[in-house]
Structures are given as structure tokens and as C-alpha cells.
Symmetry: C2
Subunit: 129 residues, 2 copies
């Protein structure tokens, strides 16, 4: 893996994922579960939990890189636009830097929805085990 290498993957925000996330983590905040509450605050429907995107990031790092001996060291994400149920999110990542001496790799990533709207972007630093 080297600077400039890029990756992409499409994630679908299905009912199974949404319901599963709530079943596991129990975050039933009305923004995520009450359509009327969300609409009263200017959203078109209930808003998906941002941390579902971090679950997708976990899958990408753990499963879609060319190597498996990796661990996430740090990560950050900024949410720009709401994600709704049934959205299809294109995830793109690019390697920003490779620090061989300390065996770390930095990637930038972005999530874009089916309307080509960037909904989130962030950075993740991984260590090579």
C-alpha cells in the first residue's frame, strides 16, 4: 500500500443494519426513531445514526484493504448531511501518507449518497501489526 492508492465500496443502509444498530446499542433518540420529531427539526425523515457509518468504516479497514494485519489507531469523522434509511452510500478512501518507520498509514475517506451529496468525510490512521 502506498500514498495515493484509492479504494471504493458501496454500502446500503438497510433496515437490517438500522434495526440491528438500535438492538445492539440501544440509541433510540427520537431523531433516529421518530419521523415526526425529525421532520419538526427540518429533516425529511428520521436520521440514521452517524455511527453506522463508522461501522461501515470498520468493515472497510478490516476486510477490504489488501492486508489483514491492521488495527485502527485513530479516526475522525465530520457529518455534513443527514443519511436516511435505504440510502446507498459510496465510500471512497485514499492513502494520504505511509510512515514505514512507525508502521502507520493515514487515509482520508468520504461517504457520498445516491444523489452525489457528500454526507460525511474523515480520516483514519491504521497501524500495521
Amino acid at each position: 500500500m502506498k500514498k495515493g492508492d484509492s479504494f471504493s465500496y458501496t454500502f446500503s443502509l438497510t433496515e437490517t443494519i438500522y434495526n440491528g444498530f438500535i438492538a445492539i446499542f440501544n440509541d433510540m433518540n427520537p431523531l433516529h426513531t421518530d419521523c415526526q420529531f425529525a421532520q419538526n427539526h427540518g429533516f425529511s425523515d428520521k436520521v440514521m445514526h452517524g455511527n453506522i457509518l463508522n461501522g461501515f468504516l470498520s468493515y472497510f479497514i478490516g476486510e477490504k484493504l489488501p492486508i489483514k494485519n491492521v488495527i485502527i489507531q485513530t479516526q475522525e469523522i465530520k457529518y455534513y448531511k443527514p443519511v436516511y434509511l435505504h440510502d446507498s452510500l459510496q465510500f471512497r478512501a485514499v492513502i494520504e501518507d505511509v510512515f514505514e518507520s512507525v508502521k502507520t498509514i493515514e487515509l482520508k475517506f468520504v461517504f457520498e449518497n445516491q444523489n452525489q451529496v457528500k454526507v460525511a468525510r474523515g480520516k483514519v490512521q491504521i497501524g500495521i501489526l
Copy 2:
């Protein structure tokens, strides 16, 4: 909510949460699923997915703050030490800043395991809807 307000909550990393996270997000990287692989890389057992902690953070923000009309805008986390199955994690958060004009609140947080080892820390910025 005002600067200096602090919160704490204890999360248990149960089998249900671990298995559920894998069922939803499908991250079966050997570090998280293969005890021998993890031990070969210096860990004492398979390492839990860092983003399970972000799921706990989602619950805290969505359910344990004094107000419900909140949304996560940005978040970052640094993982310092491995988290293992059945760990009990004390989560502590403190309000760093309140920006009333733009309706945002910044919190710092830390996760500490049952041996008083800080396993992760980070920041989250929330918007008030």
C-alpha cells in the same frame, strides 16, 4: 448544559454486542475473530472492534444527556489499549465548551477498563436542534 458538566456511564462489552456488531457490519478481520492471530501479534485475546466504542458513544449522546434534541456533528477517537470481550468500560465525558450562538457543545470523553486502564479517548461536537 454548561462547561464543566460531567457524565459517566458503565458499558459492558458482552457477547451479544460483539456478535451483533459482526452480524451487522461483517467485519471479521482475524484480529477481531481469531484468538491465535491476535496472540501472534502480541495481544492476550481477540481484540474488540474499536467502533463498538463509537456505538456506546452514540447511546450516550442520544440517550444519556439531559436533552434529546441533539445531533452529532463531528467526533474523533484515539485507541490506546486493546479492549477484550467481557471488559467493563467506564465512560466519562465532560463539557469542554458551549457555543450558544451556533448551538454547539463540545465534549471530551474517555473509556477506562475494569483495571483503570484508559483504553480510548476522544472528542465529540454536538449540535442542538
